[in-house]
Every structure is written in C-alpha cells, then in structure tokens.
Amino acid sequence: MKIRTRLILWYATILIISLIVMGIGTYEEVAEQMEIEHRRHLWENALHETGEMVVSAGMPAVALGLLGGWWITRRAMRPVTALTEAVEKIHDRNLREQLPRTGNGDELDRLTEVFNTMTQRLDTSFQRIREFTLHASHELKTPLTIMRGELETALREENFTPVQKERLLCQIDEIERLAKIVDALTLLTKVDAGQVQLNFELVQLSDLVEESVADMKILAQPQNIQVKLNECEDISISGDRHRLRQLLLNLTDNAVKYNHLNGTITVSLRRNEGFGEIKISNTGAGVTPELQPRVFERFFRGDASHNSAIEGCGLGLSIAQWIVLAHLGTIQFVSEPNKLTTVTVRFPAIGGNSQRA
C-alpha cells in the first residue's frame, strides 16, 4: 500500500472517530436541553436532532477534511515521487550525474545528498575496475608480443629438432589464444566504459546472412554438418556492417563448434512484426534449462567438463549480446539438451511495418 493511501486511511479513521465523539457530545447536550424545556418525547427528539446536526454539519466537514488531507499528503509526497523517478534513472553508465537537490535542508534534501555521495562512491569503484582491465589488457599484450617475437626469432635462428620445434610452435599457438582472450576482454571493457562507437549505415541484412551461411558451410564441412538456409527475405536495417558480421560469425562459429558429427544447422531470415528476425538452430549437446539464463555471462562456457575440448574463451556470446543491444535489437537463446539449440536475433527493420502482398 502506498504511504499516501495509508495516511489518508488513518486520517479518515481519525475524522470518523471525531465525528462519533461529536455525535455523542451533541446528543448529551441536546438531551439536556430537551429535559429542561419540555420533558416530553425526550429520547426520540434528542436522537433526531443529533442525527440532523451530524449529517448536515459533520459530514461536509469530514468530506472537506478528507479532501484537504489528500491534497496535503500529495504535496508532501511529491518530492519523494520526484526523488524516486530520479533514482530510477540511475544505472551503471550515468553514475556521474548527480540528483538535483532542493537545497532547503529538509529530510528529503538530506536523503538526496546521501544518495549522491553513494553514487559517487559507486562511480569511482566502477571506474577503477574499468581502468584496471584496460591497463591490464595493455600491459598483458606487451609481454605477449615479446614472447611471441622471441620464440619466432629463436625458431628462425636456432637449429631445433622437429620435436623441439613442435613444442615452440605449440607455445606460439597458446600465445595467440591468450591474445584473443585479452582482445575480447579489452573490447568488452571499452564497451562498458562507453568508448566503442558504431558506424551506422544502411545494411542489407540478407546479404550478410547469405555471406555467413557460405562461411558456415565451409566451417561445417570437416564435421560433415548439413547447413540449410530456409528463408532469406530482403531486409535492410540501420547498423554497423563490421559489428554485424562479427555477430553473425560468432553465432556461426558456435553453431558449428557445439554441434556433433553429421549434425545440422538451419538458418532463416524473415520479417516478423517490423523486425528482421534471424534464427540459427543447431543440433548438439545444448545447454540445460537451469544454465540457459547464464549463457550471455562473461566466461560462461556451459558444463566445463564437456567443453574443455572446444576452443574458445566464453566471451563470444557476451560480445554478440552487446552488438545486438547496440542495434536496439533482442537476442534469445533457447536450448533443448541433445536436441536443438536456437539463437534468435531481432533487429528493427527499415520500413518494417509495410506489409507486402
């Protein structure tokens, strides 16, 4: 129950009690008067008079009181409502913005001040985390570059046996993998800090989907996975071509990696209520329902024991989600373990509401 409603109810109760008190008082006064004057029909007359007084004077007073009370509580609660609305708008990106203060020194002004200090502290610690990750990724890349360079130089200059050579080459592969993780992490940190800008232009979504299906067929060949493009409508959206390609390649890669031998992948692009809807379904182990809400989390890799053989760093879907959200779209992950896993991405289509006959 809202504070305002509660206050009004209490107020109404108090008014009704005072009305009753007033009725009893009036009744006794009137009864006394009657006794002095006529000493006849005492009881009925007194009751009648009292009732009339309560109805004609008391009720309007109560109504007026309630109306006044409603108005006062509304006024009193207005700053609270305003504060709530302002606080509601706070999220991790605009912590630096301060709530406006009335400056009149009342309880709510104090509360606002406390809120402001709190968000400031939050902002500082968020900032520190972001800076840490940005610096960390930069500081990690330099030694990686040196390690890789040294290994390559050694490989070229020294005479190693094939076994030794293979070992060094494996190290280079691992350095490359580490570099990819650092890359992905840097990108996501920059995204968090609002430092990544997209270049929006008119993009023919169907072209990108066809292109990624072609790549998918190639990637799927070694595992003999069948790739089918069911439907590919002509749909344009406003988007960043590179990021959309990255998104599709991420999803393509997952559909192949988490598939099984002789599996299938089906892709479709169609118009659905003003949205361009891309659906990518693949066979494979899938993700259990209790883990599904976590697939977009960073470094989430499903059941680690199953996936340790699959290369990847668990940041692909986080990046995919960012790309979709940055295009004002939605992404949905539905998986039936050991049957079908479907990722559905929807983007606002240009001219999306026009129904074609």
């Binding site: 930069h138 890349k141 570059t145 390559e152 840097t186 990544v196 072609a214 060949q221 890669d253």
Partner: protein, 222 residues
C-alpha cells in the same frame, strides 16, 4: 630499403630489428617519440614502424606532426590495444597500415615490405605463379589446362596470394583483404578456406604451390 623502428620496449625493438635485417632491410631504431622528428630530418627512410604507446609523445601525435610537416614517409602503426576504433583513428591520422600486437614476425615483415611497394605496382589482370594462372577479368583459374570451379571468396583468396607470390601472408592480412573484416574472427575460417583452395589447385599436381608456414601464415610459391 631503409626503415625506422620506433618502439620503446627494448626487447621488442630488438627482435623487430633482427627480423627486418634478416630480410635485407637497413634498420634504425629509436625508443622515444621525440626522437622521431629529428631522425626523419637527418635521414630519408622508406618506411617507419611506429608504436602507438611511447613515452614522451605517443605515436599518433608524432604521426600527425609528421604529416603536418608534409613528410609522406609510409608509416606502419603498431598498437598493443588492437581495437577497432584505434585502427580507423590511426589510418585517419595518416598511417598507411596498422598492425595489432602481438603479431607474427612474418606478418610485420610482409607489411613493411608492402609499405615500400604501396601504389607503385600496376594491377595486372593476368596473374601467374608457376603453371597456375588467374585471369581476374574473366574470373578464371587454370593449371595445365584444367579450369577450377572457385567460389567468389576462394577466388579473392587466390588472387590475394597470387598478388604477393613467395611472400608469407599472415592470417590478419588475409582476414582484412579477403573478408574485409576489421576484427580477428577467432575461428579457423582462414585455415579451412585455404585447405579447400589447396585441395582444388594442388591435389593431383606437382609441385605443390600453396604452403602453410606454422605460426605465421601461408605462402604461394613455386
């Protein structure tokens, strides 16, 4: 070809220098951003390898000033941040190429070499490596009378290899030129495509033309 390497990490500067010298480049090294402008006044370089993160002045501001002084020496930017916007920023500031760290040495060498060639080579419509020919006008690849059925992407990949025969093509430059991606796809897409292309142009022929250089990339040579 004389190259200036600007890199503050001494170890990195050392292996870059070694690698370039091994390929026959004359290499000068400086570790500080401020030294670049004096160095280019004293010597004429054919290319500059410039790290973005430098003590004193960062690479981008050095590059901007270089271009303001009408110095047109080709510049390859190196960056440890390796992030999309930075690449665009670097190219806008007047860089000719951009390479994110950590890189394969072969990739660096190939790009430095490309700096010298930039814009000077005519684009011939008929390419030939050994007995393999590629007609970029008719979109036809042929080896000893046999025509290959190539997809559009395989064709672009083959064309890319044939335009720099005998030189190692790094994964990143393949991704940039054939796929037009500005990010590392993190998949084995390139490897799978190259494998398919190799099956088409090399299976049943001797000598093999398309070779893998582990840890570096691919090379098409006789």
């Amino acid at each position: 070809m004389r190259v200036l390497v600007v890199e503050d990490e001494k170890k990195a500067a050392l292996f870059i220098r070694k690698a370039l010298q091994a390929e026959g480049f004359a290499v000068d090294v400086c570790h500080h951003g401020d030294e670049v402008l004096t160095a280019v006044k004293a010597t004429v370089f054919d290319g500059i390898v410039l790290d973005i993160m430098l003590p004193g002045r960062d690479g981008l501001s050095v590059l901007k000033q270089l271009r303001e002084q009408k110095n047109r020496t080709p510049v390859l930017l190196l960056s440890a941040r390796g992030e999309v916007n930075e690449r665009v920023e670097g190219l806008n500031a007047g860089a000719d190429d951009y390479l994110p760290k950590p890189f394969a040495i072969a990739e660096l060498v190939a790009r430095v070499r490309a700096l010298g060639r930039r814009g000077t080579e005519p684009q011939s419509p008929l390419l030939r490596v050994g007995d393999l020919t590629l007609d970029t006008v008719l979109h036809r690849a042929e080896r000893r009378g046999k025509y290959f059925d190539l997809t559009a992407r395989e064709f672009r990949l083959l064309e890319f290899f044939m335009r720099s025969p005998g030189r190692i093509c790094g994964r990143m430059s393949i991704i940039e030129n054939v796929w037009d991606y500005d990010f590392d796809p993190g998949t084995n897409l390139v490897d799978v495509y190259v494998k398919r292309l190799r099956e088409k142009i090399d299976d049943g022929f001797e000598p093999k033309l398309l070779h893998t250089v582990r840890g570096a990339g691919y090379v098409l040579r006789e």
